[in-house]
Every structure is written in structure tokens, then in C-alpha cells.
Amino acid sequence: MSELGIDRSHQIPDERETWRHFVRKAMRNRSFVIGAIITSVILFTALISFIWTPFDVTKLEIVNRLKKPDWVYWFGTDHFGRDMFSMIMVGSRNSIAVAFVAVAIGLAIGVPLGTLAAARKGIIEEILMRFNDLVFAFPALLSAVMITAIFGPGAVNAIIAIGIFNIPVFARLSRSAAMTIWPREYVMAARVAGKSSTRITIEHILPNIANLLIVQATIQFSLGILAEAGLSYVGLGTQPPMPSWGRMLFEAQTMIGFAPHMALFPGIAIIFTVLGLNLLGDGLRDLLDPKLRRER
């Protein structure tokens, strides 16, 4: 045992890295940095809108209607004379809230289902897969339209509709990811120690699939923002007088000929947000997924 020092020399880097190392690597990842900055800007704007907006978005000033962008109204005004910039600020709250809760629904229901299916196999897995097939057979927007049509339009029902589609996405991902972890020897070691599959899932499976789930969550978040905008655009999402990006685009449509700025800025807001989230997701995937990190 005296030679023990010998094999300490070549240490192998592994999936797990120290926090400081991670931050240093993250700073070098362009997608991550840009994505994180954009996302923070959007979040910050949403927070600010609670305490301050340039103008009151509920006040209609018909005199000032359809103003082109200038130094007072940065993004111009709409046909009721409301300040577009203020509306976009308040609308960001709405988009973020809907997408966030929808992702939370998907995670909260999908991940337990998926990991359970991977752990138990057999009939539970079969049922889950059929359920997945079923939900995937209904195009997301179609079922969202149906759900909001039944329960009435509104932000809450939009959240439910988008959330339901997130469930199989996370169920499928967590099942397939969990299935790659189950054959690992450390899981076998836990089984040998007599641990139940639920316990193994909590102690060994979840921590090791968390990376993938985080990445997918950012992607679903951005898809949620697009879906909310779509639903509000056809009048089934957020209802007036609460401003929402999709709704603003709907109102802009009839005025596209003489007030194109009304369509331009909400659209750019959506693109900016979704782009930021996607870049963040890409960056996180590069940083967190050891499989995609390899180069050849």
C-alpha cells in the first residue's frame, strides 16, 4: 500500500465540475452569455413594470392615437393612444407568467410519470406511452384552441392548454433519459443495497437527468411564449384590458397599412425573448451535456 501515491498523478476530468470552473467555462460560451443577458433584460423589464412604466397602460388618450415612434412615445402609440412601450413592458409579465406556469405543469406531472415508467417498465410504461401517443396526436395549438373554447378564453385556460402539451414532452424526455441511467453500475449498487425504485429515482436518477430537464425547460419556455402569443392573437388567450403581445399584434393587423409600427414592436419583443431563451438553452446544453461536448 506504500505505492498508493503513484496513481494519484493522472486525474480524469468528469461530468462533475466545481462551481467556479463552471462559471469560467460559461463565460466563454457565446450562446450562453448572450442568452443569459437577453433573458435577464426581459425578466428585469417585467419586474420594473410592476412599479413603473413610462405611461399608464389603462388610460386611453384618443388625442394621441397612432403616433409614430418619437422621443416621448418610444415605440409609438396604438389606436387608443396607449403607449406601446409601456404595453410591451406590461405584456412581458403576462408572457413570462403563462409560459412559466405551463412549464411548471409539464415538469410537475411529466417528470414523475416518465421516471416512474422507466423504473417500473411493464404495464405502466405501456400506458404512459399510449397516453403520450394520444397527446402527440392532438396538435398543440388545436387542443389549446379546443380547451380555451370550452372553458372560455383567458390567461388561466391558456396556461392549462399549453401546460397539458408540455406533460408528454417532459414525460418522454425523462423516461428516455432515466432509461440511460438505470443500467449504470451505481444504480445496480443501490439495488444491491436493497433500495426501492422510488428511492433510487430520487437519489440517483433525478440528479443525473436534471441537466437535460433544465435545457428542455428553457426550450419549452420559449415555445410557451410563442404559443401564448398565438392564442392571444386569435383572441383565446389573455383578455383585454390586460395588454399582451399576441393581442397587440391582432389589433395591429387591421391597421397594418397605415400604422406598421403597431405590428413591428410587439413582434420584435416576442422574437427577442424567444431568441434569448433559445440561446440560453443552447448554451446550457453545451455546458451541461457531456455527450455533446466531445469534439472530433
Partner: protein, 537 residues
Amino acid sequence: MLSIQNLSLDIGNTSILKDIDLKIEQGQVMGLVGESGSGKSMTALAIMQLLPHSSTTTGQINFDDINILDSDENQMCNLRGDDIGMVFQEPMTALNPVKTIGEQIAEGIRFHTGASGKDARERAIEILQQVGLDPMQYGLDRYPHELSGGQRQRVVIAIACAMQPKLLIADEPTTALDVTIQAQILELLQKLVEENNMGLLLISHDLGVIADTADEITIIRSGEIIECGPTMEILRNQSHSYTRQLAKASTHVPVRKTRPVTASTSKKRQTEPLLQVTDLICEYPTKRKSLFTKPKPFRAVDGVTFDIYPGQTLALVGESGCGKSTLAKTLLQVHRPHSGEIVFENKNLLNSNRKEMFAARRHMQIVFQDPYGSFNPRHKVGNIVSEPMHLVNRKATQDELIKALLQVGLSADDLEKYPHEFSGGQRQRLAIARALITKPRLIIADEPVSALDVSIRAQILDLLNELRDNFQISYLFITHDLSVVRAFCDDVMVMNSGKIIETGSVTKLFDNPKDEYTRQLLAAAPDLQRTLGTKPI
């Protein structure tokens, strides 16, 4: 024919190879030996110019009169597969799963000769025959997934030798294969060397394989050549200290302080067996193949009966797929057997409920093969080592954890570390510490040293030996490596397609095998000492 001079290679900022010199003549087998990370594969890839993107090479590689490092991509494409062929380690992934083997062999022929599809196929059939695959049985239209590992490796060799190259590079061509298949593939490579008068660069970590096959040997460590020359001369003289260290480690026998415990001595002394396995049968359901017939379950373990006595080390030997891992999992109650009995410390494990069974089983632990995959990368050492204590429903105390770590030669400071902070050998110590935490009487060791370099392997064997001396631990030692069995075990069982075909003490069974399969296995296993004793210089 091939001459490498002062070859240095950097990938990024790390230096991989330093001043490598190597010469291979036609008809010559050059063995390149080194431990993992020594740069032996990179040497091969440098010759092929298939190195990763960020690498920079200096020095000279001359093949006949072609300067390889100065050649452009087009010239290299003409060289690769035509004058230089290469065979890789992992036959399971080296072939394209969506193309027939015929297409894959003919592809290179057509590229280099411009032959028509028909001519190339005819040539492919000839080559298949040459590598020992009967084209009637393994036709060109077969897909890789329809072939076994050994057969796939033959196809890979066929692809590499399709143009009768002057030089063949084989990078660990048999490491992923069973010993009997390994012997066949090595024989095939030697035959091809003779028939085509080609040079062979055989890369391996196994001195036994090289001693059997190679005319010349080059020993490499951390990117530097240690020694080179005629194989037998180098290995017999062992003039360089590293060569000596390697050879010693490959044939290392731990010094045992206590007397060996075999089944026959235990029976004589009328000791109670620690573990009794009777008529164990394990089955796996198979995939349904047709709508109308029920699939027949696959019998992985078929009527296995054996005992393990306190302090005995019983080897379980067999090739991959013979059922040894299933047997281990069944003993550990991770798999439910179809029928049979498992009695451990006089308790029947199979007819007690889950809780009782696990409590009874606390004295049976396992050590796995892969030192990298057997720990959760997100858990600290303390958590990892404590895990088996779940069997007795409590956490290990700090004292118990430290004691277990000290017993395997790690230190108390290691408790707060993550597995990635350890090297391969240290991780295997960690795995043993995890097994020791419940003070086991039987450790099932599933290929515990197969993934380790020889020098580390020797250290781990010493550790296991020390534990057996100090605590009277019994081992069920599962392995495919007969040299380890001879060095470490008391008794041996040979398993083939689910059945135990021969059992006996190591000395008796190795010297006088009764069963034909055992005999084949023994003959096929490379044995450095035997080769050094018999082969002329």
C-alpha cells in the same frame, strides 16, 4: 517500409507524444505496448492522419518514399485503405449498422480501383473467405447486427485488408473479444501477414498477446518510447526497469499469509458452507417473434449448484454471455430466479420477505468492473460508501466510514471528495470500501480488475488478498482472465451457456482439465510466463 522519426504530437496544449521512433519492415509484426494514456492509439492515428482537429505534429513519418506529414488530404485518402489498413478495438460499433457488409467491403475496393460493382463484390467474396467467413453462410447481403462480435471483427479486418495493404495497423483488435475468439483473430492476423507479406503494427495493453504474436516489441509510456527490439530478447532480459515492472505486474501473484481454503479442505474439516446454491435456474423473457407462438424464455442460468466456504476464493470463469453476471445478480437478489435455492448463512433467501431477506443479505456485497461507472458522479464519497448500510436501515457512522477507507488505503480526507477526483485504481479501492462497510463475509467481485492497467491491477489484487487474510472474507471472483484466476483463486468453476461444466481446485483444473471447453479456454488464454518459457528467441 514505415519509419517514424522524432514524431511529437500535441493536442491543444497537452503533449501526447515525444520524439517517437519506430520502424516496421514488410512481413514483420511490431507490437506496441503501453498502459492507458501512453499514446499508443495516437501513434496509430498519426500514421493514418486521422488525428483530432486541434493536433499539431512535428518530426517525420515516412511510408516507403512518401512523407506522410507533408501529404495533403487527397494523397492520404489514396494511401488509407489501399497501402495502409486499420482495424479498431470495438467491432460492435466499427461497422455502419444500416449498410450490408458487402457494401462496406466493396466500397473501399471501388474507391481505390474504380472497379465495377460486380467486380468489387467478387473481390469482397474472396476477402471474406480469406478472413474465415464462409460467403455461403455469411453472404454479402448480411447486416452487421446479424453477426457476432468476432465475426464483425473479421469483417473489419476484411475491409482493412481488401486492397492487400503493405501495412496493417490493429489497435487493440481483440480487447473487446473473448479469449477463444481473441486467439482466432490473432491467428488470422498472423496468417494474413504471412500470405500478403505485409507489415503489422499490433497495439495492445496485454504483454501476453504481444509476446505470442509480435516479432519486435516497442514499449511506450507517457508518450515516450522506453525500449524496443526483438520481442523475446526484450521480455527475457527485462533490462529496463519499466519493462521489468510491466512484466512483473502482468504475472503478479499476491503473497498469501493464510493457507488456501478449497472446497475439499473445508469439507474435510467439516466447515459449514457460507453460501449454498442449489439447482438455480434464471430465465429472461425474450422478444416476441411472431404473433402466434409464445416467445420461449431465454435460460441464462441453467441448473447451477455450488457452495462457497468461509475464507474460500472461488473463481467463476466463462466467456461473455455465459450467464455469470446473471448468476451474480440473482445471488444478490436483484433478479428473481425461476427456481432453485439460495441459502446464505443458513437462511433461505428466496422464501423470506423483502425486509428479512435484505437484512440477511448484509454480509454479501459486490464490487463491480467499471471503476468509472459504478459511482453516482453527484454524490460525495461519504454518501457512496454508506449506501449498502441501507440493508441494515441506518447510515454509517463517521468512524465506520473512515475505517472502511483506511482499510482500502484511502484517507479520511477523501470523505468529502467526489468520485471524479480519483484515478481508476483509487476508484476501485473506493468500490471495495463500499463493499466493506457492512463487514461482509462474502464479496462477489464481478471482473474487479479487468478494466485496470496491469500495475494497478497488481495493487488491487494485493488489497483483496490482504482483506482475505485479515478478515477471512470469501470471494466469488467472476472473471474471464485466467491468469488472474491462477494468481489469486483457490477453486474455479467453468461456466458455459448457463451451465457449470467443470469445478475443481485451481492447480488441479489448470494442469489437468477434463472438459473439452475448459481445455480450449486454457489453450486460448495468452500466458506470458508460458510463452517466455517455450518460445525461442
